[in-house]
């Protein structure tokens, strides 16, 4: 069956098809269905085994972050409330806010190390694999649809998700990506290569650029045509790296390496252009820009490249992925831009990124461990505000020094995910039937289409643009999801809450993962007082609409 994304891309009648489905009916049907097959939460998550090395790593990380604020006259933020941290975790792991079910379960859990245990539980949840795989896929293969027949994004994502769920060491995953041979449907890792095919031709330069950006955290692309103006990359070095893909081609058997093939460039050193025809060319031998001793003696070129990239002494590799995962958790990478890091410091460093990267590398590139370390850090659990800081630029200074948790706008799919989660009180899970995912996909695409997708440059922060604001204020999706009906959260909470106070409190927990302040509670309880039927529904509708339009809803804080 052709995946839905591709249908949309191919036929363009998708939108027309969807307009046939009344929006709320569709959502209601699907979500009701999903809610009837909820995630089964078996009480509080089991205890976390003691791990002295992890405690040490976290302590070292905390000290290193503390040092960033020293001598700058900055205040360090207090710890944030646990519910706030829970929200940050579900947004990063699942792309959504915690469900009421999760909030209740979390609050009822009084045993020690609550956040650590819930992180562990979430790491076992398939939603984590799927969402993180989508984000990793974006940076590894970009967002282009590419040539459908040669590139299967859906298979690639599924494969990456299962690797994440199995906690396959990350270096192994990368070696697979770089060196996989075979059909991209049967061997989904091969999509890393086929994603660089345009006009039936494998673009080695594009692949080389992507390899270096994704796995070394360096932008060498400028060096495609001239020596990099800032870093030490030369054009020759870039081309030497691209030559590792010089023998790769697409055949009927899939991605293959042909020992007869070579990468060629023009005699003047410039890449071969399509119209070059009879221009004289020369072969480029494969070379790495540094540490050639990291290349193994045997294997195909791509296998050798894979080993070189993931060599245990290649600090750039661990730093690159650590920086990116930091970005996924905090909404902002430690270094910006995310894929252009400074050279690693000489010798063993006690800087933040190196501490994280070293721990990651020394423990077999354990992805789950990386996430555990980062979510246990003081800065991940810090408040996003400091009472003494009253001005925006002061706050920015604090954010730059990681003295507070940064305020970052949520991504469009996180906002859609949050809308959908707030529609119901039970956890919406990926095992939900096809129709649910169908609806979700449509809504996401339509919403994202209007809301604006950050695309390839995905850790760039989108500002709050007017179309996005208009979408939230006046759009059909937020308004219809906020309506009080027998199947929506707004309606069910209104009907089931024993008092107006509980009603308002539950609405806040569902939408904003917090309780209302006294002034807020008094206001909304006042508006609900004595109202029944349609009048009550209208107030609930307005309450949910209001919460959807707050800064808090669209931002990570």
């Amino acid at each position: 069956m052709i995946p839905f994304e591709d249908v949309e891309h191919k036929t363009g009648t998708f939108g027309a098809l969807i307009r046939l489905l009344p929006l709320v009916a569709g959502v209601a049907l699907a979500v009701g269905w999903a809610a009837s097959t909820p995630v089964v939460l078996q009480g509080p998550p089991r205890a976390v085994p003691a791990d002295a090395s992890m405690a040490d790593a976290v302590a070292a990380l905390n000290s290193a972050v503390d040092r960033l604020a020293v001598g700058k006259g900055l205040h360090v933020a207090r710890p944030a409330p646990d519910l706030t941290v829970l929200r940050r975790i579900t947004l990063a792991f699942f792309g959504t806010v915690p469900s009421l079910q999760e909030v209740r379960g979390f609050e009822a859990d009084r045993a020690p190390q609550r956040l650590e245990r819930w992180v562990d539980r979430f790491l076992e949840d398939r939603r984590f694999g799927d969402y993180f795989a989508e984000r990793l896929a974006t940076f590894v293969v970009g967002t282009d649809d590419n040539q459908f027949l040669l590139f299967r994004r859906d298979r690639f994502r599924e494969w990456l998700s299962s690797r994440l769920m199995a906690n396959t060491p990350y270096d192994q995953v990368v070696r697979e990506l770089v060196s996989q041979q075979g059909l991209w449907t049967g061997k989904p890792a091969a999509n890393f290569v086929t994603a660089a095919v345009g006009d039936d031709d494998l673009d080695e330069m594009k692949l080389a650029g992507r390899t270096v950006r994704s796995f070394l955290g360096q932008r060498m692309d400028c060096a495609q045509c001239h020596d990099h103006p800032f870093a030490d990359w030369t054009q020759a070095q870039f081309q030497g790296l691209a030559a590792f893909y010089g023998q790769t081609g697409i055949t009927l058997a899939g991605v293959e390496d042909d020992p007869e093939k070579e990468l060629e460039i023009r005699e003047d050193g410039m890449p071969v252009m399509k119209d070059d025809g009879a221009v004289k060319k020369k072969v480029v031998p494969p070379t790495v820009p540094f540490h050639p001793e990291w290349l193994p003696a045997t294997g195909t070129r791509r296998q050798k490249l894979g080993e070189w990239l993931t060599h245990r002494n290649n600090r750039r590799f661990a730093r690159a992925v650590s920086n990116r995962v930091w970005g996924y958790l905090f909404g902002r990478p430690f270094h910006q831009p995310v894929d252009d890091l400074p050279d690693p410091p000489v010798g063993e460093s006690d800087q933040v990124l190196d501490i994280v990267a070293r721990d990651f590398a020394r423990h077999g590139y354990d992805f789950r461990r990386l996430l555990r370390v980062l979510t246990r850090s003081k800065v991940f659990r810090a408040d996003s505000s400091v009472p003494q800081v009253l001005e925006a630029d002061e706050l920015e200074k604090h954010e730059k020094a990681w003295a507070v948790f940064p305020l970052v706008r949520l991504r469009p799919e996180q906002i859609v995910g949050s809308f959908q989660q707030t529609f119901t009180m039970r956890t919406v899970n990926q095992n939900a039937p096809l129709i649910m995912r169908f609806i979700r996909l449509v809504q996401e695409n339509e919403f994202i289409q209007r809301f604006g997708d950050l695309g390839d440059d995905e850790l760039r922060e989108g500002g709050g643009t007017i179309p996005q604001r208009l979408m939230l204020l006046n759009g059909k999706l937020p308004n219809e999801l906020a309506e009080a009906s027998p199947i929506s959260a707004a309606g069910r909470i209104s009907g089931m809450a024993p008092t107006d106070e509980v009603c308002v409190e539950t609405a806040y927990l569902v939408c904003l993962t917090r309780r209302p302040e006294p002034a807020e509670r008094d206001y909304f309880v006042g508006r609900l007082a004595g109202k029944t039927g349609d009048d009550r529904s209208a107030v609930m509708h307005d309450l949910f609409w209001t919460l959807f339009n707050t800064t808090e809803f669209s931002w990570n804080h």
């Binding site: 505000s385 800081v389 001005e391 179309p467 208009l470 508006r527 307005d542």
Partner: protein, 426 residues
């Protein structure tokens, strides 16, 4: 001020004289949907706007502005005389032929990009795709460099956008074109979904919750610019300038002149938007990618394009807006001189056509020639896309070679080309 909704048709006087009346006196309020300021500004002093008619898919130069009758699979009578002496276009464009003297025909645009996405990028930004950053489209550049401070609605818009709508690139996504999916649908997300009373009460609730957030995070409130974006959004929602979207205010005759298609009405909307001061508008007509059945496909597109383009030019001229509005009619590439096995034409970036005019550009000339035998790939007098764009930018008053520092630390010129002197009015 409520824009009055009655159309000009109900007034007994003719349109031209009514316009003059409305513009020149305090009767401008009678003219529906137009702010007083825009109504009084006409002619050359008006700040310039850009309307791009984006022909998506690759329009065939042979079946539009550069026919070679009797050759390359074309019938021997496949041509139509135009207002320009000695210049012929495809016989499917009788109305455009009649206004061709207001435009310049470029037959020798040349590019090296034959892939839809890459070519669209090039033909919208003047730069070939680059993995390290995203260039802004022409309209975004204009909008960013020369914004209109009195405009309450978005400055940069795209009507019926296709796959790769005009975007702000490294200038920032606040310069992305505001999307209007179907011009006949009116505006999306501009109207509160509830009636005024309830909307007021919702706004009050929102202010309360925001106040609470600000109390807990004083700097955060400013940092997120939330209040500003909400205020801007509300200002837009209540702006008179939104009247531009009320296509029903136009007479039936005018609406029919543009053609009933989404594209036709989109061009009409573009004209109205220019009138209230919107800086850059892109209107997309899709479906030119005729790998199969070239003649049928191009003809069906012509049915939408011909009336709409002609009506737009005439309308702009009548309303004294043509001198301050650049109109660019362009696609991502042309189509092969040789017909393929499916009676279609494939991609051909080597030599393709565009129409450009208004805004102070030269009119009534033809630049370049493609080979009627289809042997020579390159046209004579080839025009680089970036040079055309540099010309457009310079004529609207933007310093085309201004260098900006992008976020990645790479300096980038707004446009890498140089203006073509012969395209400017002497």
């Amino acid at each position: 001020m409520e824009p009055l909704k009655h159309g000009c048709a109900r007034c007994a006087i003719g349109r031209r004289s009514f316009l003059r009346l409305a513009g020149g006196t305090a009767l401008s309020f009678l003219f529906p949907g137009m702010a007083a300021r825009a109504a009084t500004q006409r002619g050359v002093e008006r700040p310039k706007s850009l309307i791009t008619l984006w022909l998506s898919g690759g329009p065939s130069q042979l079946e539009t502005w550069d026919p070679h009758p009797g050759k390359l699979g074309q019938a021997s009578d496949f041509r139509l005389a135009t207002r320009l002496k000695g210049v012929f276009v495809s016989p499917w464009f009788p109305r455009v032929a009649d206004v061709l003297d207001r435009l310049t025909v470029i037959r020798s645009l040349t590019s090296k990009e034959g892939d839809h996405e890459r070519a669209s990028y090039y033909l919208k930004t003047g730069y070939r795709p680059d993995p390290t950053l995203r260039h802004p489209s022409l309209g975004a550049i204009l909008t960013q460099q020369m914004p209109d401070p009195e405009l309450e609605i978005p400055q940069h818009m795209t009507i019926s956008p296709s796959n790769w709508p005009a975007h702000g690139g490294f200038l920032g996504d606040q310069f992305d074109a505001f999307k209007i999916f179907d011009p006949r649908d009116g505006l999306q997300n501009m109207q509160a979904p509830v009636e005024a009373e309830r909307q007021k009460s919702r706004q009050e609730s929102l202010r309360l919750v925001e106040k609470s957030f600000r109390a807990r995070n004083p700097a955060g409130g400013d940092r997120t610019r939330h209040q500003e974006t909400v205020d801007e959004a509300f200002a837009m929602m209540s702006s008179d300038q939104l009247g531009a979207f009320h296509l029903e205010d136009e007479t039936k005759a005018v609406r029919e002149r543009y053609g009933k298609s989404a594209f036709g009405q989109g061009c009409l909307l573009a004209r109205r938007l220019v009138e209230v001061g919107v800086r850059a508008i892109e209107v997309t007509l899709d479906g030119f990618d005729s790998h199969v059945n070239n003649l049928e496909t191009q003809k069906s597109r012509a049915e939408d394009l011909d009336p709409a383009l002609a009506a737009l030019i005439l309308d702009l001229e009548e309303r004294d807006l043509l001198q301050s509005t650049v109109v660019l009619v362009i696609g991502e590439f042309g189509r092969t001189p040789k017909i393929n096995l499916a009676e279609g034409r494939d991609h051909w970036p080597q030599g393709f056509s565009a129409l450009v005019g208004g805004g102070g550009l030269r009119r009534g000339i033809v630049i370049g020639e493609t080979d009627p035998e289809g042997q020579k790939e390159m046209p004579s007098d080839p025009i680089q896309v970036e040079n055309l764009f540099a010309t457009v930018l310079s004529v609207v008053g933007v310093k085309h070679d201004r260098e900006l520092m992008t976020r990645v630390g790479r300096p980038m010129k707004l446009c890498a080309g140089s203006p073509l002197a012969r395209l400017r009015m002497s």
